[in-house]
Symmetry: C2
């Protein structure tokens, strides 16, 4: 049911049955290490390229999710996912391994909440029972695609972020869990003219502010109505920018605001402004967030990953970077 | 309502209100030239790069669609679209120009039917009234991204296809037209091990066969129940392959089968196996198909675009090419 210009509440809120996260060694050594389901010792994982490693991680996260639930691919109605690689090959080649209906998505690092939103509509409508949502990224495949290959040894800039190596996947279903997606706010594309592909926080914070403001207006809620407001990968600079923008918008986020990109690494890990990538929000969601919600620490969470919608080509052509944010409300009911 | 393993019928079938297609000069000179809504004299259209030209074409198709309907972006609930460029920048930069909620999709040349399918679920569920679906491609931006820049003067291979320069967009709504999307079959990823990125027909025909076979089985229909079965861009070789596969599957398609990639160019235009690209099916759908259905020539059409899910990187890494096909049933009711 539409409850505002961009926000919908779900008549039959889908259940989040289970999540699975698989991350690289660096993420495993970070503050959320104990929450991740599987941590690799080596981020190449025996593959001949970083892209193949990312595909293997993505595929394994979904296989392990199914195995943990003792389910077969045939029991899944739809797979919705995406990633940052050109033509989302991590997800396409993952989908190739499973006999599941597939739809590929791309909203950069907001792809995971795009998937959760679409899956919620599809399940709430009564047409689908089980949908898997996932996204992935890999530090080395992202660096060589968007910036420079690691072999070049380029210096990192102070406002840059570290692309998370990992994949997160969840199973949504029509019933079966007391953790549900109860509402979603769909974002619009925001571009304030920033061209620095090494400052994703500055690019994406305005999109998060637009969607969060729309969400609070549409629902008549305020930040203090949520136990946690969690963005995807704004990092330290982007998080501070968002907090400033939300104070100006009349919705100060306060201490209940956190960012997956800030949570996932320790400052001592030399990641500059923190984590980023389509795998950042999905791994933190599928492990940390679901586990603490199951433990009852948080009852109502606003989860709002953001995405920077540029390509290497658009940056080379001198274009500024558009961004988007989709938010979903997760409730323990 | 689910009516089979991969097929759904829509309880409240969405109406196709209107379509708009904008194509390059070569497409304008082809057999469907009189059907297209706007034909460019120059496929660079005053832009400094082919990518910017593709973005301008995509944006203009949507602006003209809105103008023809005397509608504003504020009246549109959602924009679903995609294209072939890395990180779908043609669609992202188009979405940047409109204050409309946006979700980016990628299933290569099957993106347009992916959008139609998702939009149909969203409208049928009663949550959305007006959704724009679009996709685009550009011969020169696709060649330099997936194969070689045109300036290199590479010889074209006999089984290659010509990427359509153009964008097609449609407006779907909860009511308002007697042309409706009544059912959809969602595809699975099929990969028979073909590695030739210059033979898209061979790559995609098995995916079309899988989805069409599932559709006929799920619905209990046969090819002769449709006035037209229209694939997106299999080209001559892929079309013949599909007809062979469907004969073997017990569903011979016969004379009612056509392909947008075969229809859009004349053999004298030197396009080898015919047209391809995400703009091929969307321009032919938004102009030719909608116009002949409004004229009453066809009452029930099965529209089944296919997509090849590779990237330049996956081809360089020696991978075979996965493919997918989503089909929708369009009926004049």
């Amino acid at each position: 049911m539409k409850i505002g210009s961009q926000t919908f509440s779900f008549d039959n809120p889908p259940s989040i049955i289970s999540g699975f996260s698989m991350v690289g060694p660096k993420e495993g050594k970070g503050p959320l290490g104990t929450y991740f389901d599987r941590i690799l010792q080596d981020d190449e994982w025996g593959e001949s390229s970083f892209e193949f490693a990312e595909i293997k991680i993505h595929k394994s996260a979904i296989q392990d999710l199914l195995d943990n639930l003792a389910m077969t691919p045939e029991q899944i109605d739809l797979f919705l996912g995406g990633d940052l690689l050109d033509q989302i090959i991590s997800t396409n080649f993952t989908a190739r391994s499973f006999p599941i209906c597939f739809m590929g998505l791309f909203n950069a690092c907001a792809t995971f909440s795009e998937a959760l939103t679409l899956a919620s509509f599809l399940i709430s409508s009564g047409n689908f029972n089980n949908i898997i949502c996932s996204s992935s990224s890999h530090y080395a495949s992202a660096e060589r695609q968007f910036r420079f290959p690691l072999e070049l040894g380029n210096q990192r800039t102070p406002l840059s972020q570290w692309t998370v190596t990992g994949a997160g996947a969840v199973l949504l279903a029509s019933s079966g869990s007391n953790i549900k997606i109860t509402a979603a706010t769909i974002g619009k594309v925001i571009d304030l003219g920033i061209k620095d592909a090494n400052n994703m926080g500055a690019v994406m914070a305005p999109a998060a502010a637009e969607t969060l403001t729309a969400h609070f207006k549409d629902t008549g809620t305020k930040p203090s109505d949520y136990d946690l407001i969690l963005t995807g990968d704004l990092g330290n600079f982007g998080s501070e920018t968002l907090m400033m923008l939300m104070r100006e918008a009349g919705y100060p986020l306060g201490h209940r605001y956190k960012d997956c990109g800030v949570l996932i690494y320790d400052k001592a890990q030399q990641v500059e402004m923190g984590g980023s990538g389509a795998g950042c929000s999905s791994t933190v969601f599928s492990s940390y967030l679901l586990k603490i919600m199951k433990n009852g620490l948080y009852k109502k969470v606003l989860f709002a990953p953001t995405g920077a919608l540029m390509s290497k080509m658009s940056s080379l052509l001198g274009e500024s970077i558009p961004a988007i944010c989709h938010a979903v409300v997760i409730e323990r009911v």
